[in-house]
Amino acid sequence: MSTYLLCIKTVFRKNVVFRVDYILGIISTCLQIFISCAIWKALYGKHVEINGISLAMVTTNFVIGLGLTNAFRVDDSVIQRKLRDGSFANELLKPINIRAYILAENLGDILFRILTNFLPSFIIAVIFIGVLPPVDAMAVCYSMISVVLGFGVFWALSSIIQMTAFWVMNVWSLSTIKNVFVNVLAGALLPLWFMPSSIMKIIKFTPFDSIYFTPVQIYLGELSGGDVWVYYGRQALWIVLLYSVSTVLWVFGRRRIVIQGG
């Protein structure tokens, strides 16, 4: 376990070196939030509420959703790269779990981005754009747990794409197509309140709304009491399901590789 914690720490430290990067990252996230809010302001026009949803709720959804989108970034081609440059053979020899190691690397990156990108942009957005306050103090804690679970779902989905590297030549296309689904259906670009009900019925059977939308709903108090635990359960179930698929691919995929001499 300590090996993986050390890895998280090292990746975190490595990121600290590139100061200009995270200042530019904050500006970029703020610009995206700022412009998205302008678009929605134009859409609302003179209306105060549409379908019972106020502009402030939409803005809050963007600040959290887009902020997390910029923090949750996982390199889907990590296995493919290791297979191509041959380092995969060496990794297999090391006494570590490769997938846990990849997860540790990702966690280091994401922890760093949450602290240096998400939080500063959130604070800037609270000051300049105005974000609805959470319904109560507990909602913040509950939604933070949900963010962690949401990341779990996102990571497990990425993990499946990573594993396809054993079969397909280039995971880039699959990864890009997966991202299209996440972007449209997870609620970061389009608040799911405005999804037509027919599509919404389908989304209920997919993992996508567990990623960004559930934490937002808990934060705004749309889910409370027992509902919160039901939705946690749903997020956890998707993590288990997607991770199992990834594990099956991993077991079969590893058998396929042939390692030739150096």
Binding site: V20, D21, L24, I27, S28, L31, Q32, F34, I35, A38, I39, K41, A42, L43, Y44, G45, I50, N51, M169, N170, W172, S173, L174, T176, I177, N179, V180, N183, V184, L189, L190, F194, M195, P196, I199
Partner: protein, 272 residues
């Protein structure tokens, strides 16, 4: 006998033929990649299309007019990327040292950078999406297509390609002076491009000025579309802006080219 490689056009086709061969080496992969680009770029369109089923319009623009506005961005980019891929990836060309190799060859530098690569998947993905959107929206919006409007449209597309090409050229030149110029391009160019499909009149003044005078996407799609559509929100901008897209394209590209000729003297190899 005259050497055929003296003819730049012949040279260009020779280069293109080779890049196409390498890009389409793996058929299935090529189709999947083009499809992925197409879908990735369509994301924003799908989102706004679904959104506008619940709202009437955005700043007075209905969905068909909005898609027409988007189509200009994608069509111009699809054409642009056939020619300017080398400038998009210019930083890499400098880093891996292949720029040094180009300097040694007895042909124009910019010509070689432009001719040596074309991102065909981006061209198919962006261009394809642009054409789909154009076909869908051109008949539905209130445009009277005749010889003049068609000629204007073609000139505007050409101007739009040149405007974006000039921006690519400027960002490429920046890599002579600063390390990681792509960061600046990411922040200024690509971030603004994400929102360039919307009518600029809905944005705060600051963003409008950025779109008109810093990264002039407004002249790529908004003003040409306004010439054809004449929406009400045009009255806040000078009327002359409707006509000058091609001129701006030529002028920007010419100035960027002079800047390139001047800056090339400062190039220092990275030594790799």
């Amino acid at each position: 006998m005259k050497d055929p490689s003296d003819n730049p056009l012949w040279m260009y086709f020779f280069y293109s033929h080779n890049t196409m061969k390498s890009w389409f080496q793996y058929r299935v992969d090529a189709i999947l990649r083009s499809l992925a680009v197409f879908l990735r770029e369509a994301t924003g369109i799908i989102v706004i299309y679904i959104t506008l089923t619940k709202f009437d319009d955005i700043g007075g623009w209905n969905i068909d007019e909005l898609l027409f506005l988007f189509s200009l961005i994608f069509i111009t980019y699809g054409i642009l990327i056939i020619f300017f891929t080398g400038l998009r990836d210019f930083e890499n060309i400098i880093y891996d040292g292949s720029f040094d190799r180009l300097i040694l060859r007895p042909r124009g530098l910019l010509f070689q950078v432009i001719a040596s690569n074309s991102d065909w998947f981006a061209a198919i993905g962006h261009g394809g999406l642009g054409i789909v959107l154009f076909i869908y929206s051109a008949g539905r919006v209130n445009i009277h297509w005749n010889t003049i409007t068609i000629l204007y449209y073609l000139a505007a597309v050409l101007g739009g390609v040149l405007i974006q090409g000039a921006m690519f050229l400027v960002f490429a030149i920046l890599s002579f002076f600063i390390v990681k110029a792509s960061k600046a391009q990411e922040l200024i160019y690509w971030n603004m491009r994400k929102f360039s499909g919307y009518p600029i009149s809905i944005f705060p003044k600051f963003v409008q000025y950025m779109m008109m005078y810093v990264v002039p996407f407004a002249f790529v799609n908004y003003f040409p579309a306004q010439y054809l559509l004449r929406k009400d929100d045009m009255h806040q901008y000078p009327e002359i802006y409707l006509y000058i897209t091609p001129l701006i394209g030529i002028a920007m590209y010419f100035i960027a080219y002079l800047f390139w000729r001047y800056s090339i003297k400062f190039y220092k190899s990275t030594g790799t």
